[in-house]
């Protein structure tokens, strides 16, 4: 009998499980600690945290290790872990203006208010595979470590200013130049919680932002590119106002004092995308802004998100872009459903075979009559 009809399915499953575990734990190389994964594969960790919709670097590193580097699988491990945890609270809203940047660029102006702070980027570095020997690499690593120690001896002058770490966003400048459509709301609607209620079109913007913030990076990039070069074309290219990476404070209510306290920070990537409104009914003398914000350092995702945010707003339900964003960009859902095709389907297939024969017999009857 086939793999599903076989007695002793449990033995095979357990043996497969053991095999994976044994090969994973007893790989013929050195052990990898979660700290190493956070320290050396930070962008993978950030990406997984964003797609899982959960901030915890150490748990994420453990998940990536357990998933043997399959990032979607790591997302799955974290999301299902999340299902076992209680929800303590909704945080107090953090204003994105408070972002403490460690990287900030403004492509729309050469010399914007605030710094063009490149930060930790490889954007302008030639992508050359470094084929230094392992020994040379480790020696350099040790040398850098000792240099860092001497650096510490130097007095660290407080060279930072708020203007540098919390620069005004370009959006404010554009508003002052009276170049922006003003979409600021006064009614402060309650955000939509996609983890509690499934978001379906037509949905609120907060539902779209949440969905994109935890979408799979590749799915969002593809949605974007499909609209640039593919058959959909609901968006056109934007000019980036802000690309930022930095810290946002997490605040909650102290249960005993009732006051708001900050219990730490998360790192996020934030993007403002300036849209040249070129529709017939649109304000041709103004710009509008799309917004992207996701956990960790993940610029591709935040840029795609910002561009799709404004595209979806402009589309205003005319196309099915919103449905695509809300329903097809979750990595767990798409890859889970794809992989379910590996499950036994012999009951449905038998039914299909029976209909094929029924159609054939019907045609034969037609021909013979």
């Amino acid at each position: 009998m086939g793999y599903s009809g076989a007695r002793g399915g449990i033995d095979a499953i357990e043996a497969a499980e053991k095999l994976v575990r044994r090969k994973r734990l007893n790989a013929d190389c050195e052990w990898v600690s979660p700290q190493q994964i956070v320290g050396r594969f930070r962008l993978a960790v950030d990406r997984v945290m964003g797609e899982a919709g959960i901030w915890d670097e150490e748990l994420t590193a453990i998940a990536i290790r357990q998933a043997e580097g399959d990032l979607i699988e790591a997302v799955h491990l974290l999301r299902s872990y999340k299902s076992t945890l209680p929800r303590f609270a909704y945080s107090k809203p953090t204003d994105a203006d408070e972002l403490q940047v460690v990287r900030r660029i403004v492509p729309a102006f050469r010399n914007p208010p605030g710094p063009q702070l490149l930060g930790r980027t490889t954007d302008y570095t030639g992508r050359l595979l470094e084929l230094t020997s392992e020994q040379a690499g480790q020696e350099e690593s040790m040398l850098l470590a000792s240099l860092a120690l001497t650096d510490d001896q130097e007095s660290l002058e407080p060279t930072t200013s708020d203007e540098d770490t919390q620069p005004r966003r370009l959006l404010e400048t554009l508003r002052e130049m009276d170049l922006l459509v003003d979409r600021r709301r006064e009614d402060d609607p309650e955000p939509f919680d996609i983890t509690r209620t499934p978001a379906r079109p037509p949905a609120s913007r907060s539902a779209r932002l949440s969905s994109m913030a935890r979408a799979e990076t590749g799915a969002l990039v593809n949605q974007w590119y499909r609209n640039i070069l593919g058959p959909d074309g609901y968006l056109h290219e934007v000019t980036l106002g802000e690309v930022r990476h930095g810290y946002l404070a997490l605040r909650i209510e102290h249960p005993l004092t009732g006051n708001t306290i900050s219990i730490g920070t998360v790192r996020v990537t934030e993007v403002e995308a300036i849209e040249d409104l070129n529709g017939i009914d649109e304000q041709r003398d103004r710009f509008d802004i799309g917004y992207g914000l996701c956990l960790g350092h993940n610029e591709k995702k935040a840029i795609a998100m910002a561009n799709l945010d404004i595209a979806c707003h402009r589309d205003a339900g005319r196309s099915q872009l919103e449905q695509s964003l809300l329903l097809t960009t979750d990595g767990l859902e798409s890859s889970g459903f794809l992989e379910h095709l590996k499950l036994p389907h012999y009951v449905t297939f038998r039914s299909m075979v029976e209909r094929k024969i029924a159609v054939r017999e019907s045609k034969n009857r037609e021909r013979s009559s």
Binding site: I54, L59, P86, F88, Y90, P191, T260, V268, Y291
Partner: protein
């Protein structure tokens, strides 16, 4: 290298105990537990529990709030001589969350009744001050590296 103790509000203390080094918290809490007036009367009212906080952000375009993602945190609550101690920390470190809650409770116990807590209060205040220093130092060190990557336009002209 202990920092000068500082007087701080309960709210600020919670923030700093959420950020302080785990080893330092555990060490102080363990020291406190060596006192019989702590260990005998301490009641763990809420054992350390790991859960999620849904992070809410207000975005700048429409000034709308939305939920960004959930943050893993661990919280604990204790009762010591009728005083509630509470703590929450990001992450899954249960002993440290419990330790922080114990330290929070100790700070609430009046020292005129429990003179032996004077020393503990001082150490906790030191820990808080140390945490403030650590945070400032970490930020300065990060900026020291990053600020070199600011594009200097004058130089280009």
């Amino acid at each position: 290298m202990s920092a000068q103790p500082i007087a701080i509000s309960r709210d600020r203390r919670a923030e700093l105990l959420a950020a302080a080094q785990p080893e330092a918290i555990q060490q102080l809490a363990s020291r406190a537990l060596e006192l019989s007036s702590v260990s005998d009367s301490l009641v763990v009212t809420k054992a350390p529990e790991t859960g999620l906080i849904m992070m809410q952000v207000r975005e700048p375009v429409c000034k709308e709030r939305f939920y960004l993602a959930e943050v893993v945190a661990t919280r604990a609550e204790v009762l010591l001589h009728d005083q509630t101690g509470w703590a929450i920390r990001m992450g899954t470190d249960r002993p440290t969350a419990l330790g922080a809650a114990i330290l929070d409770a100790i700070c609430e116990v009046p020292t005129d009744e429990f003179v032996e807590y004077v020393e503990l209060h001082r150490s906790i205040a030191e820990l808080c001050a140390q945490t403030i220093d650590d945070q400032a130092e970490a930020k300065a060190a990060e900026w020291n590296e990053i600020s070199k990557t600011i594009v200097n336009f004058e130089a280009l002209e």
